[in-house]
């Protein structure tokens, strides 16, 4: 069972075989997607007809619009990045405030609030989406009836998408930052006060630099999670679809290898961000 105990040859082979098969299972779909991004055919299906970069740089000549020439697709990538940026900014900011609240403040009902902060993680994304949609609609109705205001940001669209994604991503950011803040040695802060620093200065020069790895980690996780979110976004999206929604729409109509090209692009981008993050932790 473990290396320090005798293991029969069969056991070793079986374990290694299972683990090997597992990783094949894990990577085959991704490799397939990557490979067919370069296939010289109009559909992402075998047989292999030759290598081509058409699906990346094609200009629409042979009826093949490559990724970089496909304006709606590029626009949806930009929309995704914009939404992810705002979600990340809000999540890290509010997450830091929450972390300080959980680790430093003392007040009645703190245990209840801390449990409630974990609630969005158990609520299915679809439910988060429809609940925010319904509530925003009620608020918009209210504003219209009471003051005759037509509040556009309460209709399905990017502000609501940001709100929906934020509502659960901030929980994750809070957990990440609070875990780091918990291990902070408060005597360092007290030393700063003793040396004459104000609260703000101590925070700025002692605590926040300590939190920096967690802040960057939380930002990276928030960005990635926002970028790939589907369920909540699906319910809240208006006329500007982010990338996941656009891909879904196209996949239902009939996949074209442009989607493979986008996927490969996403894989490389996520790998770069995640590996940079891992390297930082070394």
């Amino acid at each position: 069972m473990i290396p320090s105990l005798p293991r029969s040859g069969i056991q070793r082979c079986a374990t290694a075989g299972w683990v090997g098969a597992f990783f094949v299972f894990l990577f085959v779909p991704l490799v397939i997607v990557a490979v067919f991004a370069f296939n010289d055919a109009n559909y992402p299906a075998p047989p292999w007809r030759g290598f081509t970069l058409d699906w990346f740089v094609g200009s629409g000549a042979k009826g093949r619009t490559g990724l970089f020439a496909d304006a709606p697709l590029m626009k949806s990538i930009a929309t995704s990045v914009l939404v992810a940026f705002w979600v990340t900014l809000l999540s890290v900011a509010v997450g830091t405030a929450n972390a300080f609240l959980l680790e430093r403040a003392r007040f009645r009902g703190k245990a209840a609030i801390s449990l409630m902060m974990l609630a969005p993680l158990v609520i299915p994304g679809v439910i988060l989406g429809i609940s925010i949609l319904a509530f925003a609609s009620r608020l918009a109705q209210f504003a219209d009836d009471l003051w005759g205001l037509d509040l556009d940001f309460l209709r399905p669209g990017l502000p609501l998408v940001v709100a929906g994604q934020f509502s659960y991503i901030v929980s994750i950011a809070t957990l990440t930052i609070a875990a780091r803040l918990k291990r902070f040695d408060t005597t360092l802060e007290e030393a700063a006060f003793n040396l004459g620093a104000s609260r703000a200065a101590a925070l700025r020069t002692v605590t926040l630099p300590y939190l920096k790895p967690a802040l960057i980690g939380a930002a990276a996780i928030s960005f990635l999670m926002s970028f790939e979110n589907f369920n909540t976004t699906l319910m809240l999206v208006g006329s500007d679809p982010p990338l996941t929604i656009m891909m879904y729409g196209r996949m239902r109509e009939g996949a074209s290898p442009v989607l493979n090209a986008v996927s490969l692009f996403l894989m490389v981008a996520s790998a770069v961000i995640a590996l940079a993050l891992l390297r930082r932790e070394r």
Partner: protein
Amino acid sequence: MVSAAADPLASRARLALLLLLAPAAVWLVGLIVLPHVELAVLSLRARVAPRVYEWSLAQYRTFVDEPLYWRTFVRTATMSILATACTLLIAFPVAWYIAKIAHGRAKSLLFVLCLIPFWVSETVRTLGWMILLRESGVLPHLLVALGITAEPVEMLYHDATILVGLVYTSMLFMVVPLVSTLESLDDSLIEAAYDLGGNGWSILRQIVVPHAAPGIAAGSIVVFMLTLGNYLTPTLLGGKNSLWFTEQIYTQFITRFNWEQGAAFGFLLLILSTAIVWAGLKVTGQRFGDVMRRS
């Protein structure tokens, strides 16, 4: 002197507390509590005339009366439990290998390899499975080339396909808690059990599984919740036969604009999800906060 100075300090501290509390309050109340209250209110409404509503349990009654809805519900729940069980069985040996048998660089490499498929979006992973399994896809082509089948067989749009897709998507969330709890199991306990005459199975049953129970609970709860609330994988891999409950919610809410019905379904899904998570926690004796922090 002291009491005069204490007051502004206390009120400043109170102000600081309120400022810290404000974002959390706005988030929790405005984005979680009130929206769910709104959902509950919607689900208890029925439309009697244009713009005229009254309180009623009609939405829930439709759910009970119409066999399609509650059959879909039960089907979603059972397939989610099945997917969770499969994920656990597949992930356990792998987690064991990473935690106990692999060492040093191989271990961190294997762990990172487990994470990589989950950095890309679910749409990409599902696209991969679609290309692999559909009639014109890679696997049927391979089977024909190997002579196992005469013509390409349509492998999508079966229940098994949905199951494979769900297990694939949930794998990370089972492996990570398992690896972390198995790593904390002291090797010498296993060695001692072996010396006392135990064999693989008895050690597994009496030592490993009880020790790994928190990880198993955490992983299972997260995987179950994810599969229950999944929309993309069942819809794309299962096609029109998918009959997944989240799809029903989407249909009612977005396609048919029947918000009352959609809200009722949403609440039912939420209640089911919460009930099974709570039952799972109770059965294994875990506490919610600990489980969430662990994953």
